[in-house]
Symmetry: C2
Subunit: 205 residues, 2 copies
Protein backbone atom coordinates (compact mmCIF):
# COMPACT_ATOMS: atom_id res chain seq x y z
CA UNK A 1 0.00 0.00 0.00
CA UNK A 2 0.96 3.64 -0.31
CA UNK A 3 2.86 5.57 2.33
CA UNK A 4 0.23 8.23 2.83
CA UNK A 5 -0.85 8.63 6.42
CA UNK A 6 -4.47 7.82 7.08
CA UNK A 7 -6.32 8.45 10.33
CA UNK A 8 -9.36 6.29 11.01
CA UNK A 9 -11.82 7.37 13.67
CA UNK A 10 -14.40 4.99 15.12
CA UNK A 11 -16.68 6.46 17.74
CA UNK A 12 -19.61 6.14 20.10
CA UNK A 13 -22.63 8.13 18.95
CA UNK A 14 -22.54 11.57 20.53
CA UNK A 15 -18.90 11.33 21.61
CA UNK A 16 -17.77 14.12 19.28
CA UNK A 17 -15.79 11.73 17.08
CA UNK A 18 -17.14 13.23 13.87
CA UNK A 19 -16.36 16.77 15.01
CA UNK A 20 -12.84 15.64 15.92
CA UNK A 21 -12.47 14.22 12.40
CA UNK A 22 -13.70 17.45 10.79
CA UNK A 23 -11.46 19.71 12.88
CA UNK A 24 -8.47 17.47 12.35
CA UNK A 25 -8.95 17.24 8.57
CA UNK A 26 -9.38 21.03 8.35
CA UNK A 27 -6.27 21.66 10.41
CA UNK A 28 -4.16 19.19 8.42
CA UNK A 29 -5.63 20.33 5.10
CA UNK A 30 -6.59 16.81 4.08
CA UNK A 31 -10.00 15.37 3.11
CA UNK A 32 -12.49 13.76 5.47
CA UNK A 33 -14.54 10.77 4.29
CA UNK A 34 -17.65 9.48 6.02
CA UNK A 35 -21.16 8.87 4.72
CA UNK A 36 -20.06 10.19 1.36
CA UNK A 37 -18.64 6.72 0.98
CA UNK A 38 -22.15 5.32 0.90
CA UNK A 39 -23.07 7.65 -1.93
CA UNK A 40 -19.93 6.76 -3.84
CA UNK A 41 -20.59 3.06 -3.41
CA UNK A 42 -24.20 3.55 -4.40
CA UNK A 43 -23.29 5.46 -7.53
CA UNK A 44 -20.86 2.84 -8.65
CA UNK A 45 -23.35 0.04 -7.99
CA UNK A 46 -26.15 1.90 -9.73
CA UNK A 47 -28.36 1.89 -6.62
CA UNK A 48 -30.11 4.92 -5.25
CA UNK A 49 -28.53 6.33 -2.10
CA UNK A 50 -31.66 5.49 -0.13
CA UNK A 51 -31.81 1.81 -1.01
CA UNK A 52 -28.16 1.37 -0.12
CA UNK A 53 -28.55 3.14 3.19
CA UNK A 54 -31.51 0.92 3.99
CA UNK A 55 -29.41 -2.13 3.25
CA UNK A 56 -26.48 -0.72 5.18
CA UNK A 57 -25.98 0.08 8.86
CA UNK A 58 -29.65 0.81 9.47
CA UNK A 59 -30.79 -2.60 8.29
CA UNK A 60 -30.00 -4.13 11.65
CA UNK A 61 -33.49 -4.30 13.08
CA UNK A 62 -35.17 -5.90 10.07
CA UNK A 63 -32.21 -8.17 9.51
CA UNK A 64 -32.06 -9.43 13.07
CA UNK A 65 -35.83 -9.89 13.13
CA UNK A 66 -35.77 -11.85 9.87
CA UNK A 67 -32.85 -14.09 10.77
CA UNK A 68 -33.05 -14.18 14.58
CA UNK A 69 -29.32 -13.72 14.90
CA UNK A 70 -26.98 -12.00 17.31
CA UNK A 71 -23.80 -10.26 16.15
CA UNK A 72 -21.62 -13.16 17.21
CA UNK A 73 -23.64 -15.87 15.52
CA UNK A 74 -23.78 -13.64 12.46
CA UNK A 75 -20.00 -13.56 12.30
CA UNK A 76 -19.95 -17.28 11.54
CA UNK A 77 -22.94 -16.81 9.32
CA UNK A 78 -21.23 -14.34 7.02
CA UNK A 79 -18.71 -16.90 5.83
CA UNK A 80 -21.53 -18.90 4.25
CA UNK A 81 -22.35 -16.37 1.60
CA UNK A 82 -25.53 -18.06 0.39
CA UNK A 83 -27.35 -17.05 3.59
CA UNK A 84 -26.36 -13.37 3.28
CA UNK A 85 -28.60 -10.67 1.88
CA UNK A 86 -26.43 -10.03 -1.14
CA UNK A 87 -26.80 -6.24 -1.17
CA UNK A 88 -25.10 -5.89 2.25
CA UNK A 89 -22.02 -7.79 1.20
CA UNK A 90 -21.81 -6.08 -2.17
CA UNK A 91 -22.04 -2.67 -0.56
CA UNK A 92 -19.43 -3.55 2.06
CA UNK A 93 -17.04 -4.91 -0.58
CA UNK A 94 -17.52 -1.86 -2.75
CA UNK A 95 -16.93 0.44 0.20
CA UNK A 96 -13.80 -1.51 1.08
CA UNK A 97 -12.46 -1.06 -2.45
CA UNK A 98 -13.23 2.64 -2.35
CA UNK A 99 -11.61 3.07 1.07
CA UNK A 100 -8.46 1.28 -0.08
CA UNK A 101 -8.22 3.38 -3.23
CA UNK A 102 -8.78 6.62 -1.28
CA UNK A 103 -5.98 5.60 1.12
CA UNK A 104 -3.66 5.16 -1.86
CA UNK A 105 -4.58 8.50 -3.44
CA UNK A 106 -3.44 10.65 -0.53
CA UNK A 107 -3.59 11.29 3.21
CA UNK A 108 -7.09 11.53 4.69
CA UNK A 109 -9.31 11.13 7.74
CA UNK A 110 -11.97 8.41 7.55
CA UNK A 111 -14.81 8.30 10.09
CA UNK A 112 -16.59 4.99 10.65
CA UNK A 113 -17.22 2.36 7.95
CA UNK A 114 -14.82 -0.21 9.49
CA UNK A 115 -12.02 1.69 7.74
CA UNK A 116 -9.60 0.76 10.55
CA UNK A 117 -10.21 -2.92 9.77
CA UNK A 118 -10.18 -2.51 5.99
CA UNK A 119 -6.82 -0.71 6.19
CA UNK A 120 -5.39 -2.82 9.04
CA UNK A 121 -2.29 -3.89 7.05
CA UNK A 122 -1.33 -0.33 6.18
CA UNK A 123 1.96 0.73 7.83
CA UNK A 124 1.04 4.38 8.33
CA UNK A 125 -2.39 3.90 9.81
CA UNK A 126 -3.46 5.86 12.87
CA UNK A 127 -6.48 4.03 14.25
CA UNK A 128 -8.41 5.46 17.21
CA UNK A 129 -11.77 5.03 18.90
CA UNK A 130 -13.46 7.99 20.63
CA UNK A 131 -15.56 7.49 23.79
CA UNK A 132 -17.27 9.90 26.15
CA UNK A 133 -19.25 9.77 29.37
CA UNK A 134 -22.90 8.89 28.84
CA UNK A 135 -24.15 12.23 30.27
CA UNK A 136 -21.97 14.20 27.85
CA UNK A 137 -23.19 12.14 24.90
CA UNK A 138 -26.83 12.60 25.89
CA UNK A 139 -26.37 16.36 26.28
CA UNK A 140 -24.65 16.59 22.90
CA UNK A 141 -27.28 14.60 20.98
CA UNK A 142 -30.18 16.34 22.75
CA UNK A 143 -28.76 19.74 21.73
CA UNK A 144 -27.85 18.81 18.18
CA UNK A 145 -31.20 17.21 17.30
CA UNK A 146 -33.44 19.19 19.65
CA UNK A 147 -34.45 16.07 21.60
CA UNK A 148 -35.39 15.48 25.22
CA UNK A 149 -32.68 13.75 27.22
CA UNK A 150 -34.79 10.59 27.28
CA UNK A 151 -35.14 10.54 23.49
CA UNK A 152 -31.46 11.33 23.07
CA UNK A 153 -30.52 8.43 25.34
CA UNK A 154 -32.74 6.12 23.28
CA UNK A 155 -31.20 7.23 20.02
CA UNK A 156 -27.70 6.71 21.44
CA UNK A 157 -28.55 3.18 22.56
CA UNK A 158 -30.03 2.31 19.16
CA UNK A 159 -27.26 3.89 17.08
CA UNK A 160 -24.45 2.35 19.11
CA UNK A 161 -26.17 -1.02 18.91
CA UNK A 162 -26.29 -0.68 15.12
CA UNK A 163 -22.66 0.45 14.91
CA UNK A 164 -21.54 -2.42 17.13
CA UNK A 165 -23.48 -4.92 15.02
CA UNK A 166 -22.15 -3.49 11.74
CA UNK A 167 -18.54 -3.42 12.98
CA UNK A 168 -18.55 -6.86 14.58
CA UNK A 169 -20.36 -8.45 11.63
CA UNK A 170 -17.82 -7.30 9.10
CA UNK A 171 -14.62 -7.41 11.17
CA UNK A 172 -15.10 -10.23 13.68
CA UNK A 173 -13.51 -7.87 16.22
CA UNK A 174 -15.06 -6.31 19.29
CA UNK A 175 -16.39 -2.77 18.74
CA UNK A 176 -14.91 -0.17 21.08
CA UNK A 177 -12.35 -2.57 22.57
CA UNK A 178 -8.72 -1.58 23.05
CA UNK A 179 -7.80 -4.87 21.37
CA UNK A 180 -9.40 -3.65 18.12
CA UNK A 181 -7.79 -0.20 18.11
CA UNK A 182 -4.38 1.37 18.68
CA UNK A 183 -5.89 3.82 21.16
CA UNK A 184 -9.15 4.59 22.94
CA UNK A 185 -9.54 8.28 23.76
CA UNK A 186 -11.93 9.66 26.37
CA UNK A 187 -13.41 12.93 25.01
CA UNK A 188 -15.01 13.76 28.37
CA UNK A 189 -11.66 13.67 30.17
CA UNK A 190 -9.43 15.01 27.38
CA UNK A 191 -11.81 17.39 25.60
CA UNK A 192 -12.35 17.54 21.84
CA UNK A 193 -9.71 20.18 21.15
CA UNK A 194 -7.02 18.35 23.09
CA UNK A 195 -7.75 15.17 21.12
CA UNK A 196 -7.44 17.15 17.86
CA UNK A 197 -4.09 18.54 19.10
CA UNK A 198 -2.96 15.07 20.10
CA UNK A 199 -3.87 13.49 16.75
CA UNK A 200 -2.29 16.39 14.89
CA UNK A 201 1.00 15.89 16.73
CA UNK A 202 0.88 12.13 16.13
CA UNK A 203 0.13 12.73 12.43
CA UNK A 204 2.96 15.25 12.01
CA UNK A 205 5.51 13.19 13.99
Amino acid sequence: MSEYKVITISRQFGSGGHEIGEKLAARLGIPLYDNQLISMAADELGYTKESVERADESSLDSFMAAYSVTPMSYTNFISTASYMPSLDVRVFRKQSEIIRSLAQKGPCVIVGRCADYILRDKADLINVFICAEKEDRIRRIAERYGLTEKKAAERIRKTDRERKFYYETYTGLEWGSIYSHQALLNASLLGIDKIVDLLETVYRA
Copy 2:
Protein backbone atom coordinates in the same frame (compact mmCIF):
# COMPACT_ATOMS: atom_id res chain seq x y z
CA MET B 1 -1.90 22.41 42.55
CA SER B 2 1.24 23.32 40.69
CA GLU B 3 1.45 23.67 36.94
CA TYR B 4 4.08 20.99 36.42
CA LYS B 5 3.10 18.35 33.92
CA VAL B 6 2.79 14.87 35.35
CA ILE B 7 2.32 11.69 33.33
CA THR B 8 0.69 8.76 35.13
CA ILE B 9 0.97 5.30 33.62
CA SER B 10 -1.26 2.45 34.71
CA ARG B 11 -0.67 -0.86 32.98
CA GLN B 12 -1.39 -4.52 32.57
CA PHE B 13 1.43 -6.74 33.83
CA GLY B 14 3.79 -7.51 30.95
CA SER B 15 2.40 -4.80 28.66
CA GLY B 16 5.65 -2.81 28.67
CA GLY B 17 4.11 0.05 30.64
CA HIS B 18 7.06 0.30 33.00
CA GLU B 19 9.56 0.31 30.14
CA ILE B 20 7.50 3.05 28.46
CA GLY B 21 7.67 5.07 31.66
CA GLU B 22 11.45 4.61 31.95
CA LYS B 23 12.14 5.54 28.33
CA LEU B 24 9.82 8.51 28.49
CA ALA B 25 11.32 9.85 31.71
CA ALA B 26 14.85 9.43 30.31
CA ARG B 27 13.94 11.20 27.07
CA LEU B 28 12.21 14.07 28.87
CA GLY B 29 14.92 14.30 31.53
CA ILE B 30 12.43 14.06 34.38
CA PRO B 31 12.22 11.55 37.26
CA LEU B 32 10.25 8.31 37.27
CA TYR B 33 8.51 7.16 40.45
CA ASP B 34 7.21 3.65 41.05
CA ASN B 35 7.90 1.17 43.84
CA GLN B 36 10.32 3.65 45.33
CA LEU B 37 7.15 5.23 46.65
CA ILE B 38 6.60 2.22 48.87
CA SER B 39 10.04 2.62 50.36
CA MET B 40 9.51 6.32 50.90
CA ALA B 41 6.19 5.69 52.59
CA ALA B 42 7.71 2.93 54.65
CA ASP B 43 10.60 5.10 55.80
CA GLU B 44 8.29 7.89 56.85
CA LEU B 45 6.03 5.49 58.72
CA GLY B 46 8.95 3.74 60.35
CA TYR B 47 8.02 0.32 58.92
CA THR B 48 10.43 -1.96 57.17
CA LYS B 49 10.02 -2.11 53.40
CA GLU B 50 9.06 -5.77 53.62
CA SER B 51 6.22 -5.36 56.09
CA VAL B 52 4.75 -2.53 54.05
CA GLU B 53 4.94 -4.50 50.83
CA ARG B 54 3.23 -7.41 52.51
CA ALA B 55 0.45 -5.12 53.63
CA ASP B 56 0.27 -3.47 50.23
CA GLU B 57 -0.70 -4.80 46.79
CA SER B 58 0.38 -8.35 47.54
CA SER B 59 -1.91 -8.69 50.53
CA LEU B 60 -4.86 -9.48 48.30
CA ASP B 61 -4.99 -13.24 48.76
CA SER B 62 -4.81 -13.27 52.53
CA PHE B 63 -7.12 -10.30 52.77
CA MET B 64 -9.77 -11.79 50.52
CA ALA B 65 -9.52 -15.11 52.28
CA ALA B 66 -9.86 -13.48 55.70
CA TYR B 67 -12.76 -11.21 54.81
CA SER B 68 -14.45 -13.16 51.97
CA VAL B 69 -14.87 -10.02 49.89
CA THR B 70 -14.81 -9.17 46.21
CA PRO B 71 -13.35 -5.88 44.95
CA MET B 72 -16.79 -4.32 44.53
CA SER B 73 -18.10 -5.24 47.96
CA TYR B 74 -14.80 -4.03 49.37
CA THR B 75 -15.37 -0.61 47.80
CA ASN B 76 -18.33 -0.09 50.09
CA PHE B 77 -16.40 -1.72 52.85
CA ILE B 78 -13.59 0.79 52.79
CA SER B 79 -15.82 3.67 53.85
CA THR B 80 -16.33 1.96 57.17
CA ALA B 81 -12.79 2.37 58.38
CA SER B 82 -13.14 0.20 61.46
CA TYR B 83 -13.31 -2.93 59.30
CA MET B 84 -10.11 -2.04 57.41
CA PRO B 85 -6.70 -3.44 58.24
CA SER B 86 -5.28 -0.15 59.39
CA LEU B 87 -1.83 -0.52 57.85
CA ASP B 88 -3.28 -0.62 54.29
CA VAL B 89 -5.12 2.65 54.68
CA ARG B 90 -2.21 4.33 56.41
CA VAL B 91 0.17 3.28 53.66
CA PHE B 92 -2.22 4.41 50.94
CA ARG B 93 -2.76 7.79 52.60
CA LYS B 94 0.96 8.27 53.07
CA GLN B 95 1.63 7.35 49.46
CA SER B 96 -1.08 9.77 48.36
CA GLU B 97 0.56 12.59 50.30
CA ILE B 98 3.94 11.72 48.83
CA ILE B 99 2.54 11.55 45.28
CA ARG B 100 0.85 14.93 45.67
CA SER B 101 4.00 16.53 47.02
CA LEU B 102 6.15 15.02 44.22
CA ALA B 103 3.69 16.40 41.65
CA GLN B 104 4.14 19.86 43.16
CA LYS B 105 7.92 19.66 43.21
CA GLY B 106 8.36 19.24 39.46
CA PRO B 107 7.35 17.33 36.33
CA CYS B 108 7.58 13.53 36.57
CA VAL B 109 6.34 10.16 35.37
CA ILE B 110 4.53 8.00 37.92
CA VAL B 111 3.90 4.31 37.24
CA GLY B 112 1.04 2.61 39.10
CA ARG B 113 0.03 3.42 42.71
CA CYS B 114 -3.37 4.91 41.66
CA ALA B 115 -1.48 8.13 40.93
CA ASP B 116 -3.98 8.99 38.16
CA TYR B 117 -6.76 8.95 40.76
CA ILE B 118 -4.78 10.72 43.47
CA LEU B 119 -3.90 13.53 41.02
CA ARG B 120 -7.26 13.55 39.20
CA ASP B 121 -7.94 17.25 39.89
CA LYS B 122 -4.61 18.38 38.49
CA ALA B 123 -5.00 20.47 35.32
CA ASP B 124 -1.83 19.29 33.60
CA LEU B 125 -2.21 15.59 34.19
CA ILE B 126 -1.60 13.12 31.35
CA ASN B 127 -3.22 9.88 32.44
CA VAL B 128 -2.87 6.74 30.31
CA PHE B 129 -3.35 2.99 30.65
CA ILE B 130 -1.15 0.59 28.65
CA CYS B 131 -2.56 -2.73 27.35
CA ALA B 132 -1.11 -5.43 25.13
CA GLU B 133 -2.24 -8.68 23.56
CA LYS B 134 -2.08 -11.63 25.94
CA GLU B 135 0.48 -13.52 23.82
CA ASP B 136 2.84 -10.54 23.82
CA ARG B 137 2.53 -10.17 27.59
CA ILE B 138 3.19 -13.86 28.17
CA ARG B 139 6.26 -13.77 25.92
CA ARG B 140 7.59 -10.68 27.70
CA ILE B 141 7.16 -12.04 31.23
CA ALA B 142 8.48 -15.50 30.29
CA GLU B 143 11.64 -13.89 28.89
CA ARG B 144 12.18 -11.40 31.68
CA TYR B 145 11.78 -13.88 34.53
CA GLY B 146 12.94 -17.04 32.74
CA LEU B 147 9.55 -18.73 33.14
CA THR B 148 7.66 -21.22 31.02
CA GLU B 149 4.75 -19.69 29.12
CA LYS B 150 2.34 -21.46 31.46
CA LYS B 151 4.00 -20.01 34.56
CA ALA B 152 4.16 -16.58 32.94
CA ALA B 153 0.44 -16.69 32.13
CA GLU B 154 -0.31 -17.62 35.76
CA ARG B 155 1.79 -14.77 37.10
CA ILE B 156 0.07 -12.32 34.74
CA ARG B 157 -3.37 -13.46 35.89
CA LYS B 158 -2.40 -13.15 39.54
CA THR B 159 -0.65 -9.79 39.23
CA ASP B 160 -3.41 -8.20 37.18
CA ARG B 161 -5.99 -9.50 39.64
CA GLU B 162 -4.04 -7.85 42.46
CA ARG B 163 -3.64 -4.58 40.54
CA LYS B 164 -7.32 -4.53 39.70
CA PHE B 165 -8.25 -5.16 43.31
CA TYR B 166 -5.85 -2.51 44.61
CA TYR B 167 -7.00 0.11 42.07
CA GLU B 168 -10.71 -0.53 42.46
CA THR B 169 -10.51 -0.68 46.23
CA TYR B 170 -8.89 2.70 46.59
CA THR B 171 -10.48 4.57 43.66
CA GLY B 172 -13.97 3.07 43.24
CA LEU B 173 -13.26 3.20 39.47
CA GLU B 174 -12.91 0.31 37.06
CA TRP B 175 -9.31 -0.72 36.40
CA GLY B 176 -8.29 -0.59 32.73
CA SER B 177 -11.52 1.05 31.61
CA ILE B 178 -11.54 4.01 29.22
CA TYR B 179 -13.90 5.72 31.67
CA SER B 180 -11.13 5.76 34.29
CA HIS B 181 -8.39 7.08 31.99
CA GLN B 182 -7.89 9.76 29.35
CA ALA B 183 -6.49 7.19 26.95
CA LEU B 184 -5.97 3.45 26.62
CA LEU B 185 -2.98 2.58 24.42
CA ASN B 186 -2.41 -0.81 22.79
CA ALA B 187 1.31 -1.61 22.93
CA SER B 188 0.92 -4.62 20.64
CA LEU B 189 -0.57 -2.50 17.85
CA LEU B 190 1.38 0.73 18.43
CA GLY B 191 4.70 -0.63 19.72
CA ILE B 192 6.54 0.64 22.78
CA ASP B 193 8.68 3.20 20.96
CA LYS B 194 5.71 4.74 19.17
CA ILE B 195 3.90 5.13 22.49
CA VAL B 196 6.98 6.85 23.94
CA ASP B 197 7.04 9.18 20.89
CA LEU B 198 3.34 9.84 21.26
CA LEU B 199 3.55 10.66 24.97
CA GLU B 200 6.60 12.81 24.37
CA THR B 201 4.74 14.89 21.76
CA VAL B 202 1.71 15.20 24.05
CA TYR B 203 3.97 16.25 26.93
CA ARG B 204 5.83 18.84 24.87
CA ALA B 205 2.69 20.25 23.21
